[in-house]
């Protein structure tokens, strides 16, 4: 788990038109797919969405069909149960609409994260925040918060592993309190240390606010 930061993000280098498309276009298409599938629940919408997303991934990212199926593996149990339930309760057409729609959206979202680097995605969100500056949003502080968050995940995950090992050594691994208490206290302490480090470097504080202690 300590290596999580290195593998954070789902980008895989490759070739195809999806890689060259601007992030905004891909994000809009991916979101549009979710909206379309939820708004128009019909077999034809689902079929079109499925064909489009599968086609885009096969052609635009040059994925093999086997690779495509592997991407759906984590969601397979839920989708399977849902498909079974829907076809028994409401017929196979309804099952196709529901499960096919979810599958299309998962694939569309995956197409975005597969072909866009984490950095590009984050830059895109920060750009998205910029128009809201007038109502008090601050893209720089937002970007800072995101990077602190991403930096903290490996630290916290590593801490969980350590704490769990310690709990196991004492035979207490079945007690969630023993595992989680040090994690949460450690997280708060870590946040304070990070905050002090930021303040020492003049980051994260309001410009018009002087930084004297209480």
């Amino acid at each position: 788990m300590r290596g999580y930061g290195a593998t954070l993000g789902l980008y895989e280098p490759g070739k195809g038109f999806l890689y060259r498309l601007p992030t905004a276009v891909k994000a809009a298409a991916s979101l549009g797919c979710a909206v379309a599938v939820i708004a128009w629940r019909s077999p034809s919408t689902t079929a079109v969405a499925l064909v489009l997303t599968v086609g885009c991934l096969l052609v635009g990212a040059r994925l093999s069909p086997a690779r495509l199926l592997r991407m759906l593996l984590p969601a397979a149990p839920v989708l399977g149960i849902l498909a079974l339930y829907q076809s028994l309760a409401q017929g196979w057409l309804r099952a196709f609409v529901v499960v096919g729609g979810i599958t299309a959206c998962l694939l569309a979202a995956r197409a975005l994260t597969l072909t866009t680097t984490t950095q590009d995605l984050l830059d895109g969100v920060v750009r998205l925040v910029r128009p809201f500056r007038s109502i008090g949003a601050d893209p720089e502080r937002f970007a800072l918060a995101v990077s602190i968050m991403l930096r903290s995940i490996p630290y916290l995950a590593g801490m969980v592993v350590d704490v769990r090992q310690a709990a196991r050594a004492r035979g207490l691994e079945r007690d969630p309190r023993v595992v989680v208490t040090p994690l949460v206290l450690g997280a708060v302490a870590y946040a304070h240390r990070t905050g002090e480090a930021l303040a020492a470097r003049g980051l994260g504080d309001e410009d018009d606010e002087d930084d004297d202690g209480p």
Binding site: A108, T116, L144, L185, L198
Partner: protein, 212 residues
């Protein structure tokens, strides 16, 4: 020692316009680290609980903790940060998933309910912490329970109905499976929050008016 206190009258009013409304660096990093904490609790395999060792994932624990540890404003911000980072496609949701795709998935209602849950839990927790120390754990537990019953479960059921196409009765049955685990997590969140507030008494500035 803790710059969090610097916000004086309370970081709870970030939504309003006064000049002091902004967070300092410690507030910012608390929000970011709690978003990371929710992510870490979501992606790690569940902890086996009880004699049967049924694993519970701790995602909702992180959400409620953000609310009752950081208060309504910073807690909600932490959950929103977690959601935004997950929605743009970083694998921080449970099962290493992420992206807009989850919005069409059966669990979308639960995810969208999380910021509200943190808000409600945070508002209730501020009230509890102001009251002093008696029954603090029990009251914080009730705050968490109320937050999850008022937000996570209704919206989760709605999500199951809209996205998974389940009728109301079935959706409620599916949702009810999570209730016992949730109660355990509410207890856990209350116990943890009491420890955290004891260790960091200034975390929710303005609520510690009665140090006993």
């Amino acid at each position: 020692m803790q710059p969090a206190q610097q916000t004086g009258t309370g970081p709870a009013d970030m939504g309003r316009r006064p000049a002091r409304r902004r967070w300092n660096a410690t507030d910012l990093s608390l929000v970011a680290v709690f978003a990371a904490l929710i992510a870490a609790l979501s992606i790690l395999p569940g902890i086996p609980v009880g004699p049967l060792g049924v694993p519970i994932t701790l995602q909702t624990l992180g959400v409620l903790l953000a609310g009752i540890v950081l208060g309504p404003a910073r807690g909600t911000a932490a959950v929103l940060l977690y959601l935004v980072v997950g929605l743009i496609g970083l694998p921080v949701f449970s099962g290493f998933s992420g992206g807009f795709g989850v919005l069409a998935g059966p669990t979308a209602g639960y995810l969208l309910a999380f910021p509200l849950a943190a808000l409600v839990a945070g508002l209730l927790a501020v009230g509890v912490l102001r009251r002093g120390r008696r029954f603090r754990t029990a009251l914080l537990f009730l705050a968490c329970l109320a937050a999850s019953l008022l937000t996570i479960h209704p919206l989760g059921i709605a999500g199951l109905m809209v996205n998974a196409g389940l009728p109301l009765r079935e959706a409620i049955l599916v949702d009810a499976v999570y209730l016992p685990g949730d109660v355990i997590k509410d207890v856990l969140a209350a116990l943890l929050a009491v420890s955290v507030h004891r260790a960091f008494p200034r975390l929710l500035a303005g609520t510690r008016s009665t140090p006993a």
